[in-house]
Symmetry: C2
Subunit: 350 residues, 2 copies
């Protein structure tokens, strides 16, 4: 597996995912602002990985606070937290991880602990989040694999793999486990996932590294292959799940869910419980990030449309729970109705 | 309107559509092989325009036959016809136009007419096809506009505009007529249409030239906007229509039709009767062109996926008639069931 991030001598080292698959470039920084920027421009991406990285970025901020602004340590932490919370609006793991970090430093403040002590505890908390993510990934992968039969072709969208997480991945985790651990003969259809091509650039790259037979298609081809009976199952990740089971995920997921429903193909969402937002009840409340027009009309040097044209670029969409066959979490595979099960698991999780 | 092709002093001048919107480059040739190549690599594209261009390419072949192979004039014409028929398999207008041309030279052969006479008749037939296409476009545009209400947002896929036809266009023709002639305030959502981006490159370019408010989206966003109530109607073109009303059109059309059906949004196909293939009864019989993997994984200089990955690249899909609200032809707007109406109109057309 590729190492997407690494905490090392008080610095965060991370893989710049915008350069994949052409180059494997790592960046190392002690500046939380650089991590915030990296999250914004999708060098660091994937809901679980955003959470882990934000936790480490907060550690970088805490180190800076101790060194440069010891008198305003907590105010500075507030600012760091605020900067990180404004990087991307949809993936709830970001806020979940920052909430955990805030609890650590708030407790330290109440107890009157030293900055050094708090900083050490923050690093431990970030490492705990990272390690838990690894274990959670494994649990999701193992459970998800149970759904997959040998001989199946699985369609996936965007990248919910090792690159999106601390390890293994969620949707791709289930696929890896089925293929590598459980030795099921499966193959994958990977949607390229416009505009930023996480499917083409990242998912095919990961799957080939793990020797899972993979075919790349354009997003608009999914229906064609479903109609031909070439898709046995759809598995995707999630950026935020409402208590009723509505799922926000990469733009295009909703269209896939409608297509799967029309063709009676099972549609699964694989995500850690940290992706469930117990403050909201339906997907309508999930904020959808709108990104810049240049992502759609510029391809590196090449411009593919007149610059005067209007462009819409929502980064996510919401799939209503009625279109979802099951949600694979680390604590079990959930079937509809989701609301009571998600509520109960979130309480246990809290 | 842009002039896509022009017959001029025994040469065919055509716009290289692969270079749009960055450059408006015209190519002029007396060699039918270059026209065949241009059709293959989509410099000339769009079902109606392919038909017209193939007719003129046959005239170029006839001139060459007269000049270089007078003893084997008809054999050479056979070869030219054969070369042109093997450029692209799905759009039936190609075969329809070449059938019309073949009838001209076969009659000439039977009557023992001179090569000069036959060549003149061939040019007249190609010009007739071009002129008819212009009139048919207008009729489709005028009829199609009747379906469109002021205030509507219309989603379209690929390019069924002036660039795809001798003039006006089919799906975009209806949109132009509604906007420019009938003064209805409408706007368009244009799917970018991967892999070759005809929507991003050509449709937005055409619509902006005609001052129709246009917003470009990625193909995977259509469902999102439908769910938000932002799409009032879908209008697309066609590459081949079976007698039962099943429609082959650019890949992604089928997914759109399923999405429109799910959201109870009217889904219209605009096409000349020459696109109806009265030799086939259902869409299952329509051959679907599969194009090269490089179209999906290469973007100019940039490679977006590992070259080892498998790629599928069907250029078209088939939308079953059950998902189609109406088919707009030059002879009227047809509603389901289509089969008897299409049969009747094709007889009148033949």
């Amino acid at each position: 597996m590729l190492k997407t991030i690494e905490w090392k001598n008080g610095c965060l080292k991370f893989l710049d995912q915008t350069k994949l698959p052409a180059e494997e470039v790592y960046q190392e920084t002690a500046d939380f602002r650089e991590v915030a920027q990296a999250i914004k421009r999708l060098s660091i991406r994937g809901a679980p990985l955003i959470g882990v990285s934000a936790a480490y970025a907060l550690c970088l901020g805490a180190q800076e606070a101790e060194k440069r602004f010891p008198e305003n340590y907590f105010d500075f932490l507030d600012q760091v937290d605020n900067t990180l919370r404004h990087t991307r609006p949809t993936a709830v793991n970001l806020f979940w991880a920052l909430d955990r970090m805030r609890e650590v430093w708030s407790k330290g403040k109440l107890k009157g602990e030293s900055m050094q002590t708090i900083n050490l505890q923050l690093i431990r908390e970030a490492q705990a989040i990272e390690n838990e993510d690894r274990e959670i990934n494994q649990a999701i992968a193992r459970l998800g694999s149970q759904l997959i039969q040998t001989g199946e072709t699985i369609l996936t969208h965007c990248n919910a793999g090792a690159l999106a997480c601390g390890a293994w991945g969620t949707a791709l985790g289930a696929i890896y486990w089925a293929s590598v651990k459980d030795n099921k003969k499966i193959s994958v259809l990977a949607d390229e996932t416009r505009p930023l091509l996480q499917g083409a650039r990242l998912t095919t790259f990961e799957l080939l590294k793990n020797r899972v037979p993979t075919t790349l298609i354009c997003d608009n081809m999914a229906g064609f292959f479903m109609a031909q009976g070439k898709v046995d199952r759809v598995i995707v990740g999630a950026d935020r799940i409402a208590l009723n089971g509505d799922v926000a995920n990469k733009i295009g997921t909703y269209s896939l869910a409608v297509l799967a429903f029309h063709h009676s193909i099972p549609f699964h969402v694989a995500a850690p419980l940290s992706t469930v937002d117990d403050k909201i009840f339906t997907g309508e409340e999930i904020p959808i990030e709108e990104r810049g027009k240049e992502e759609v009309i510029c391809w590196g040097e090449r411009q593919i449309a007149p610059f005067e044209v209007g462009v819409r670029n929502p980064a996510f969409d919401v799939t209503p729970n009625q279109l979802i066959t099951s949600i694979i979490t680390e604590k079990g595979i959930l079937y509809p109705p989701f609301i009571d099960k998600l509520k109960k698991l979130k309480k246990g999780d809290g």
